[in-house]
């Protein structure tokens, strides 16, 4: 079954509530609650089928960025400047390898979301590792070319992530 789509159905519910139910409700807190419910249903009616592709694209983008981060950390490891970041590099590699082993052709939105949370966690951990002093004796991490390069890369990634999020979360008709 393909029709009605969930989006069509939800949009129809929102229109019915707005046109048939809302006019019968007097002004006040209950009416305001129903107006909010209608706005949420309208947003979900537009966003529901974007969630899977959004998470898929987001995961691929984060994975690709983490691969590039690993390459930078490999380089830093080779010249000895990033020895303390080696455990972080290994954890990122392990996370990336886990996806290659999944073997699922069409992951469910729930699986994509779980992977997204895992990758988000890796990005948080990476940022903390880049900020942490290299040894307990140092007060702070000295700026290094690798750190600057990775942080700049992450900043661009974050912008892309938010742009994708806005595609899904913006209310219908909102200006981008």
């Amino acid at each position: 079954m393909t029709k009605p789509t969930i989006g069509d159905l939800l949009n129809g519910v929102a229109v019915s509530l707005r046109e048939s139910v809302l006019p019968e409700i007097p002004a006040g807190p209950i009416r305001r609650q129903i107006q909010v419910a209608i706005s949420i249903i309208r947003r979900v009616s537009v966003a529901w089928d974007k969630t899977g592709p959004y998470l898929y694209a987001d995961n691929k983008d984060i994975e690709e960025t983490l691969r590039r981060v690993c390459a930078i950390l490999d380089r830093a490891g080779a010249d000895g400047s990033g020895a303390d970041l080696e455990p972080m590099r290994q954890r990122i590699r392990a996370t990336l390898d886990r996806d290659d082993d999944s073997g699922v052709e069409y992951p469910s939105p729930a699986a994509l979301a779980a992977r997204n949370v895992e990758l988000q966690g890796q990005l948080v951990e990476l940022q903390e590792a880049l900020r942490r002093p290299p040894s307990p004796q140092s007060a702070e991490r000295p700026p290094s070319a690798e750190r600057i390069e990775i942080l700049a890369m992450l900043r661009v990634l974050f912008r892309r992530m938010l742009e994708r999020e806005l595609e899904v979360t913006a209310p219908p008709g909102a200006k981008k």
Binding site: G28, P29, I30, R32, Q33, V36, A37, S39, I40, R43, N116, V117, Q120, G121, L123, V124, Q127, E128, R131, P143, I148, L151, A152, L154, R155, F158, R159, M161, L162, E163, E165, L166, T169, A170
Partner: protein
């Protein structure tokens, strides 16, 4: 959510009479009329009503507003400091409602609540942001600058506000970062790497405050109770704290609700500095504008979490997490390039 059914009103009247009897020792024939719910944000329930009583043969009357803590919401603030700061600021030059009575533990009213004298006027952000009310909005924005100047230059030692956590010029920013980060870690429903990046940036760029002042914490157009072109009271002191005064200016000028269409930020700052003598450093202002985006994201997250956990059924909070992306995008838009000083 407030339901103004007859039963709810009757119950509230009984509760209010209990509180008033405990506070008005000589009062006889306490009468409560015209009870009605009013809109007051998502963190508290608000009701207005009139109280009449006889005190040693003389009839007294006061119109009141009661603010009662909501079951759960987007802020986890204590009502006691709010009541005490409003009491301390009465007749200080900063327009506030007169604080009357407090039920700090919810003994009478079921949840913590306080009552202030009703101040005439309206709070209507949408009207203020409309271009057709430009003249009034500019006048109110100018008063906002004057109120900020008044508030931020009050002598803290004379006000008796030691109930607010102490801070110093050096620690003001760190305390705010720490407060909001702890809320973020408590309420987040996923890791949020952009928010983590934001906190790292904020920690690495903390400004030293020019002075420590009372910071309203939610200082903005939407919290001005105005009548015509005049601000009669500043409302919603629930996020009040001691800190860097620039924080209030940055919050007032968030893109979402700021009066920039009627009074530019530069004009506001010029007027504020003229009146207060407090210079506003552009780097400090940027820091607090960035913190403001993070702060509003966390307020939204807290509301969404309260709803998801079933601690509130207020639908205004249900989808608040979806607003965060636009605040964080604003954060990235304002963020200086890596390696620059401002």
């Amino acid at each position: 959510m407030t339901v103004s059914s007859a039963a709810a009103v009757e119950d509230l009247v009984i509760r209010l009479k209990g509180l008033l009897k405990a506070n008005l020792h000589r009062a006889e024939e306490i009468q409560i009329d015209n009870v009605a719910p009013i809109t007051a944000g998502n963190a508290r329930q608000a009701w207005e009503f009139d109280v009449r009583w006889i005190d040693r043969g003389e009839e007294k009357k006061v119109s009141c507003v009661m603010l009662r803590k909501a079951e759960a919401g987007q802020l986890e603030t204590d009502l006691i400091p709010e009541f005490r700061i409003v009491s301390a600021l009465w007749r200080s030059g900063v327009p506030v409602a007169r604080a009357l009575w407090m039920d700090s533990e919810g003994r009478w009213l079921g949840r913590p609540a306080f009552i202030v004298e009703k101040v005439e006027g309206a709070t209507d952000l949408f009207t203020l942001l409309k271009s057709e009310s430009a003249e009034r909005s500019r006048a109110i924005a100018q008063q906002l600058a004057a109120i900020a100047a008044e508030l931020h230059t009050l002598d803290l030692n004379k006000l008796g506000i030691d109930f607010l956590p102490a801070t110093t010029r050096e620690t003001a920013a760190a305390q705010q970062i720490s407060y909001w980060e702890s809320l973020f870690l408590k309420h987040r429903m996923e890791p949020h790497p952009v928010m983590a990046a934001a906190f790292i940036w904020l920690k690495e760029h903390q400004p030293i405050a020019r002075r420590v002042s009372i910071v309203h914490g939610d200082f903005r157009f939407g919290n001005c109770l105005y009548e015509g072109h005049r601000v009669n009271a500043m409302l919603d002191w629930e996020m009040v704290h001691l800190g860097d005064p620039v924080e209030d200016i940055a919050w007032a000028y968030r893109a979402l609700w700021g009066p920039q269409a009627f009074l530019s930020l530069d004009e506001f700052v010029r007027r504020y500095t003229e009146l207060s003598g407090i210079p506003v450093d552009s780097r400090t202002l940027l820091f607090y504008r960035l913190l403001g985006e993070v702060k509003h994201s966390i307020i939204s997250l807290t509301g969404a979490r309260s709803f998801m956990d079933g601690r509130t059924r207020n639908l205004f909070l249900a989808d608040r997490a979806s607003t965060i992306s636009s605040y964080l995008m604003q954060f990235l838009d304002w963020l200086p390039a890596e390696g620059t000083r401002d």
